[in-house]
Symmetry: C2
Subunit: 367 residues, 2 copies
């Protein structure tokens, strides 16, 4: 494992260090890897793409919307910013290879904050298998609050990209990684309980990146990372593939277990606290009845179904695919009926296909 | 030339259209090109990189800092946002192939504004030679003001990247594209003269992108795009290469000519109006004396030397390189003396090597 080199004066602000001083420090904090042909400090970076294709994605992480500086340390923000883009790459079946990080912040931001941010970015990159990922470039600017735009670049290693549009009736639906943990962590933070172990799932989601390329090797027909919530994200697959995704809540019972560690009064309120519950369509009920679950499990099921930001992986596989144990089969793909068309049902009840988090119409994530 | 397809209701706001509605519209507004293997709408895009390497860069464009919505139309902002990243790619000797555009804005931003932004991005991409560039992905988020983070991806077509560090004593220094036009345009806007033809250079810089790969083919030893100002950007080459760059202001006389169209009272104030004048070091004079220039030329020389945002190309070439006419030789590369070391001199006078625009220490670009 590469070591994150920490240098630089801690008490300085970015305004004192200056843009070019910051860029020089970032070069020290963010070591290149073997695929970095030109790294931080030139007009652009150059990355080896031996596959002949590059997978590319960009994500914002905006203070007050995606994180709060009083809840998240700079290192947390670095982990989370990296995770959002790395998970998008893995969800295409790619192995992440590089990040470009554009950072804007106030002139009085301590240099130590930027250094810890870089440490978080570098540490999250080290969670990537193989040659690993590293920060190869970016931009800096002054802004009233902190915001990041992180571009991820990845390599398909000769595989076809796993798109949202390939789900086929008869396929099974499976997930790898936690569901609802980040949403439960947000509820705990909002309730003033920052020292609960589920809080770290909100502040530093830890997606199993290698599950993405693994799913591609296993023949996944469609895949997405769960950033907006399981129902919303499977809804994207359903819409792109023109299918109905039929989930069984009994299969999600194991996913509810870790969430029962949340105090009962917060669990009961899960459907109103996450801020990520899709509005039910006229043909749905507001919450699955899930007769196979007990009352406690039903209380936390909305977190499992609609909690975003875990960046776990949801994929569809041809029937008969032999899935490793970390993949849990939670449903099947069926033909979409004529009306209301493609979407997701849970125990036979329909939820909105594209419900869940919408940046322009929904409220703020952490307020 | 591909056609920019314009659809969608004009009077809607982003809040009414919603995040997923906006993404659907963006797919219509931003057509893919032949290298786009997976475009807008999946977890990530996939781009062909036949060279086996990809050149990548990210740049912010922030309202109130890089543009003002009362000065720039949305189409202007699209052109400028694209130009910043496309020029960085060309300055490595690469042919731009794709952009990822992260757009944050207020919920009450009209959909028509986003549509015109997309039209500007697409139109600027059409200025790229060869297979051309297109917008292949991005992100959207809500923010109090408009900000963009644009990632550019490019192809080296088998060439070595042209870095900042390759300038060698004996090389000639040459530029392609206008110098100081964007700064003069900013001064005109600030003075309330928005209908002057130089204003368009500020609102829609039009870099000669093909000059970048051309310079690489001609054997350029170092190259940069002039984003912070000629002296500042040549200073980056001088520092990275460990050389002294020796400019002759007489060679810049032709570059001053278009700037003489600015009203005399603004010309005379050029050194205080651009906001981009590097502080002179203890060993410099505040402004070159430039005895070979007349008084009018001397008045606008600071724009030529320190005006940013033209995104023209400055490169060093081995002695004897036969340069096409759009490249103007403006100086030579010399060994850096022991003290004060690498830097840039104009008519023998030294300016700060890394002077010019600094986002954290300088004032706002357009205030």
């Amino acid at each position: 494992m590469a070591e994150v080199i920490i240098t630089g004066a801690d008490r300085q602000t970015l305004g004192e260090l200056g843009e070019f001083g910051l860029i020089a420090e970032l070069r020290n904090w963010l070591p290149p890897n073997s695929r970095t042909l030109v790294g931080i400090g030139d007009d652009a970076a150059v990355l080896a793409t031996p596959d002949g294709r590059v997978v590319a994605t960009t994500d914002f992480l905006i203070e007050g919307r995606h994180f709060r500086r009083d809840w998240s340390s700079a290192t947390d923000v670095g982990h989370k910013a990296a995770a959002r883009s790395l998970a998008d790459l893995a969800a295409m079946g790619a192995v992440p290879s590089a990040l470009l990080v554009a950072l804007a912040g106030p002139a009085d931001l301590p240099v130590s904050w930027a250094r810890e941010l870089a440490a978080g970015l570098a540490a999250e990159c080290l969670r990537v298998e193989g040659p690993g990922a590293s920060v190869i470039g970016g931009d800096t600017a002054r802004a009233d609050s902190v915001l990041l735009a992180v571009t991820g670049l990845g390599d398909l290693e000769g595989r076809a990209p796993v798109r949202r549009s390939g789900a086929t009736p008869g396929d099974v639906v499976a997930v790898a990684g936690p569901l609802g943990h980040a949403a439960a962590g947000l509820a705990l933070l909002s309730a003033g309980i920052p020292d609960h172990r589920l809080v770290s799932a909100q502040l530093r989601p830890a997606p199993p990146y290698d599950a993405g390329p693994e799913a591609a090797e296993l023949g996944a027909s469609a895949m997405i990372d769960v950033s907006d919530g399981l129902l919303a994200d499977l809804g994207h697959i359903a819409a792109a593939s023109g299918v109905l995704i039929d989930l069984r809540s009994a299969a999600l019972a194991p996913a509810t277990a870790p969430l029962l560690a949340v105090p009962a009064e917060l669990r009961h309120a899960s459907s109103t606290r996450t801020g990520r519950i899709p509005a039910p369509s006229p043909t749905t009920s507001p919450q699955p009845e899930s007769p196979e679950l007990d009352a406690q499990q039903r209380d936390v099921l909305p977190w499992v179904l609609t909690g975003g930001e875990d960046h776990s992986f949801a994929a569809t596989f041809p029937p008969g695919a032999r899935l490793p144990s970390r993949w849990t089969v939670i449903g099947t793909v069926r033909p979409a009926p004529g009306k209301p068309g493609p979407g997701v049902v849970v125990d036979g009840q329909r939820w909105l296909a594209s419900g869940g988090w919408d940046h322009f119409t929904a409220g703020q994530a952490q307020q």
